[in-house]
């Protein structure tokens, strides 16, 4: 991956009447990067994608693609391939005609188009299906055809608008890996819009988490998961426990009767007395080898166990933290190992280095 900037969004604003859909979006995407726009429905991620595609026009702001100002260019004047959630395959044209739709227009002869179409079909794993019609293909196959069509003209930018959400779970996982592999192979800069955090975490080089028309965080999947920049990101990406606490200064926080020491977050110096929220992932706990003097040591009663397959979520009422039960994750083996059952008491420590602290009210 080179570090060259490929796409640059500067102060993009979009308002519909008095409603602000996007508010001052600044974003830089490098050449060859796979970026996911992640957020709940209505957060503006699709609007942003459509602005990049020229299907909507931003109210103000600048778009630069490969050094070229494309802010007010019509879609046909920009360089991208796009795939929609509905795929938008032309139902009355054969698969070959669909894939070659953009090629024929470039005044290429039939003899040049046919091999390129077959090459693309091979690329997406559907060689020899050019004579069929879209209605004869399964949803997953249609999705690949749409991808081949978007890639046919070798665009510099690939835009994917919720490409997998119309498929069932198994096909979805399979195809997202294929898209990822294909993207790596071709090196095409790619933006994918999704509301599925798991999807974003698994395929993206960087994730842009959006909410209410603003970017909450831009970072690698690991950064977004481990170091969420805001309570929203912590809540939206992955499961998280939220504990209300009061700052006592020097990275100490009181939660119920327990005092917790948060070592990370050197910058988050909260004045004593300030109300804060502590965010902790269910898996961020230690059971083995907890020292008795560990300030994060807890004991608690298992109230309820939710079986999720390979993992279980145990709801634990921690001694000294009334009214704030914790969800802790254990693998099936650990359930036996630590004897985690409803009604049992377990001893564990919270991982202080993973704890994230956010102020409850704005500063």
């Amino acid at each position: 991956m080179s570090d060259a900037t490929y796409l640059e969004l500067r102060r993009i604003r979009k308002s519909f009447g008095s409603f602000t859909a996007l508010d001052d979006i600044d974003l830089t995407i490098r050449r060859g990067e796979f970026v996911c726009f992640l957020g709940p429905s209505g957060c503006g991620k699709t609007t942003l994608l459509r602005i990049i595609a020229g299907l909507e026009t931003q109210t103000s702001g600048t778009l630069m693609q490969a050094g070229r100002d494309i802010s007010v260019l019509p879609p046909a004047g920009r360089d991208y391939g796009i795939m929609f959630q509905s795929y938008a395959l032309f139902p009355n044209l054969s698969i070959a005609d669909n894939v070659g739709y953009g090629l024929v227009n470039r005044k290429q002869s039939r003899a040049q188009v046919a091999p390129r179409v077959e090459e693309l079909l091979k690329l997406v794993g559907l060689p020899g299906s050019g004579g069929k019609y879209p209605a004869q293909m399964s949803g997953g196959q249609q999705q690949r055809i749409a991808l081949a069509r978007a890639l046919a003209t070798s665009p510099g930018l690939l835009l994917l608008d919720e490409p997998l959400s119309a498929l069932d779970a198994i096909v979805r996982v399979h195809l997202r890996n294929e898209i990822r592999d294909l993207q790596r192979k071709l090196g095409v800069t790619t933006i994918m819009v999704t509301h599925d955090q798991e999807e974003a975490l698994s395929v993206a080089d960087r994730i842009v988490v959006m909410n209410h028309g603003v970017i909450e965080q831009v970072g690698t999947p690991m950064q977004v998961y481990r170091e969420p920049a805001s309570p929203f990101v912590a809540d939206f990406v992955g499961k998280v426990n939220r504990l209300t606490a009061v700052a006592e200064g020097d990275h100490w926080f009181r939660c119920g009767e327990k005092r917790l020491h948060c070592v990370a977050h050197a910058d988050s110096d909260f004045r004593p007395g300030r109300e804060v929220a502590l965010y902790l992932r269910p898996e961020d706990r230690v059971v083995d080898g907890v020292r008795d003097d560990d300030p994060m040591r807890c004991s608690g009663t298992v109230r309820h166990v939710e079986f999720l397959g390979g993992n279980c979520l145990a709801e634990v009422l921690v001694d000294g933290m009334p009214g704030q039960p914790l969800q802790l994750q254990f693998s099936l083996n650990q359930m036996d190992e630590f004897d985690v059952r409803e009604g049992n008491t377990i001893r564990f420590a919270l991982r202080a280095d993973r704890l994230r602290v956010f102020p409850v009210s704005p500063l």
Binding site: R11, F84, A88, Y133
Partner: protein, 569 residues
């Protein structure tokens, strides 16, 4: 920050291919302005003028409104329309209920026969009535025994209108009753609900909007119909015949405009209600609804079959009487079948040209109307830019539904016959008749096309743009082929209506462009009822042939271009 807020929103540069779409958009807007808005506006302004042309008109308008003759016509029009609505809607509802909720046999046959009145001008039922119950009618004694003075006047109008409007009302009600969610009935069954209660708590509320719509459409059709009262109305004046008499008979355009305005008001009013009601209806049935499949019930099915046989029998009696009479040599004395009315009444009277003119009008309307409506709907739904003009075009496309043909025709006289209008060369030409007919029936065609286009993936155009394919290529390669079946439907609709319409074109023809449907009117006025019947039958025959041709064409199109729809795996 505030500077950013105050800056005007960015505008995208327009790709040169999109200019074509904008040009088409402007073209459609101009067509509707010239063919609809301006003529209507002139009718309004004429109604407010005094007879010498000065504009101090409200007084004259009010004075004329208060005249007893006009009030009587208004009263006649209203009560006749209400009565027909009250008769036809329950009859059609029962028929539609039988078609959709029973397991009676021959459903499609029954359905087809009820469509017969659509094939000919509404006049046909009036002419048939005269043969049945007129002064020389076969069942005149029966009619008199029922206590009526004769067929001419209100009873004849009501009866003929019932037949003429039945198919329209039925179509709406069948649609309304087809949209039923079986899950509601299953839930009711699970709760042990009785049949009658299910009818009143599920069926009727479900069809509520359809019933309102059917009633409004029936009312509007009757109050604006002009052919039937003209033929069997006798001395019973209604608004529609008043307009005709004032304009054609007395050349009193100003008063004609006042009456036309009165005619426009209830039509526009019912249209507005209907439009409002229709918007509500779309949300009542969700995509997840389960279609209701009727279960056989011997007694109910038998009763429904008998009812439908009765209705269909009456329809056939009405339709076939005109056919029979048109072949009778000399009614009622010599009923031997012959072509005398066709040969001496039509061909020798040089009315063959009228038939040719009608065919020409219908063909032109079918071709140009379909093209205009399709392009109009396409640029409206599928292209971008010119957002200010779009709502105006949408409104103008819906407006013709609310405008009675007579009012439109009158507007055309005022506008295209006006001295100094550069378009006046069109007056009394076939081109103007075509324009008038296209505009008159624009709304239904437009709505059909919009529905067809809305069922297409909204991103086709976006994908094409990303592939650098201009929109017109996608229009030609994708949109048009997919929409061909809908296109055929619209074109058939235009053709049949152009063949059978009278109301708008009655003001606009010249001796050279005389139309078959209008010729029926003139023949009847001259007392040549035999040739009039022959002409009506000829139109019905032509319409039938055309429909069969369209069916064959549809099959061909399906085989050629729709192979992708249900392909085998």
């Amino acid at each position: 920050m505030s500077a950013v807020l105050r800056a005007p929103p960015l505008k995208q540069r327009v790709h040169w291919t999109d200019r074509f779409a904008h040009l088409a958009l402007i073209g459609i807007a101009l067509l509707l302005v010239v063919g609809l808005v301006v003529p209507l506006f002139i009718v309004l302004s004429k109604a407010l003028e005094t007879s010498d042309g000065s504009a101090a008109g409200l007084g004259a308008f009010a004075a004329y409104l208060a005249s007893p003759a006009l009030l009587q016509s208004l009263w006649h029009s209203v009560w006749v329309s209400v009565l027909v609505t009250a008769i036809v809607v329950p009859l059609a509802f029962t028929f539609a209920y039988a078609l959709t909720r029973s397991c009676m046999p021959f459903k499609s046959l029954f359905r087809t026969i009820t469509l017969l009145p659509l094939l000919a001008p509404s006049l046909l039922s009036a002419i048939s009535l005269i043969y049945w119950f007129g002064n020389q009618g076969v069942a005149k004694e029966f009619w008199l025994a029922l206590g009526f003075d004769g067929i001419y006047g209100a009873p004849g109008i009501v009866l003929a209108e019932c037949f003429a409007t039945f198919p329209h009302t039925l179509m709406i009600l069948v649609t309304a009753l087809t949209l039923a969610d079986a899950r509601l009935y299953e839930a009711a069954d699970a709760l042990g609900t009785r049949t009658l209660r299910k009818f009143f708590t599920i069926t009727l509320p479900g069809a509520k909007y359809g019933l309102i719509s059917a009633a409004l459409v029936t009312f509007t059709l009757v109050i604006t119909d002009f052919g039937i009262p003209k033929v069997v109305g006798g001395n019973f004046n209604v608004l529609a015949t008043d307009v005709f008499k004032l304009v054609i008979g007395q050349q009193d355009f100003q008063r004609g405009a006042v009456v036309a305005l009165l005619l426009l008001t209830p039509a526009a009013f019912t249209f507005a209600i209907d439009y409002f009601v229709q918007r509500k209806q779309t949300s009542t049935l969700t995509a997840r609804a389960v279609a209701l499949v009727p279960r056989p019930s011997r007694r109910f099915d038998l009763a429904m079959t008998l009812y439908c046989v009765l209705i269909v029998g009456l329809m056939l009696a009405m339709f076939l009487m005109a056919v029979f009479a048109s072949f009778a040599t000399l009614w009622p004395y010599n009923l031997t079948p012959s072509f005398v009315h066709y040969v001496s009444g039509l061909v020798d009277a040089e009315l063959g040209d009228a038939m040719l003119n009608s065919l020409k009008l219908a063909a032109c309307t079918a071709v140009f109307g379909t093209a205009i409506v399709f392009v109009g709907a396409y640029v409206l739904e599928k292209t971008r830019g010119f957002d200010g003009v779009r709502p105006a075009i949408r409104l103008m496309a819906m407006l013709p539904m609310a405008v009675p043909g007579l009012v439109l025709g009158l507007g055309y006289i005022f506008f295209f016959n006006a001295p100094g209008n550069p378009l006046s060369f069109m007056y009394q030409t076939t081109a103007l008749l075509v324009l008038c007919t296209i505009v008159h029936f624009y709304t239904t065609g437009h709505l059909t096309m919009v529905t067809a286009l809305k069922s297409l993936d909204p991103e086709f155009e976006a994908v094409s743009a990303s592939l650098k394919v201009p929109f017109y290529k996608t229009f030609w390669r994708v949109t048009l082929p997919i929409c061909l079946p809908a296109l055929l439907d619209v074109s058939r609709y235009f053709f049949i209506n152009a063949m059978t319409t009278i109301s708008a074109v009655v003001f606009l023809y010249s001796p050279d462009t005389k139309l078959a449907a209008v010729a029926i009117l003139n023949l009847d006025e001259a007392g040549d009822i035999g040739p009039a019947a022959a002409m009506a039958v000829l139109i019905a025959g032509t319409s039938t042939v055309v429909i069969v041709l369209y069916m064959l064409l549809g099959k061909l199109v399906d085989r050629r271009t729709q192979a992708w729809r249900a392909p085998s795996r």
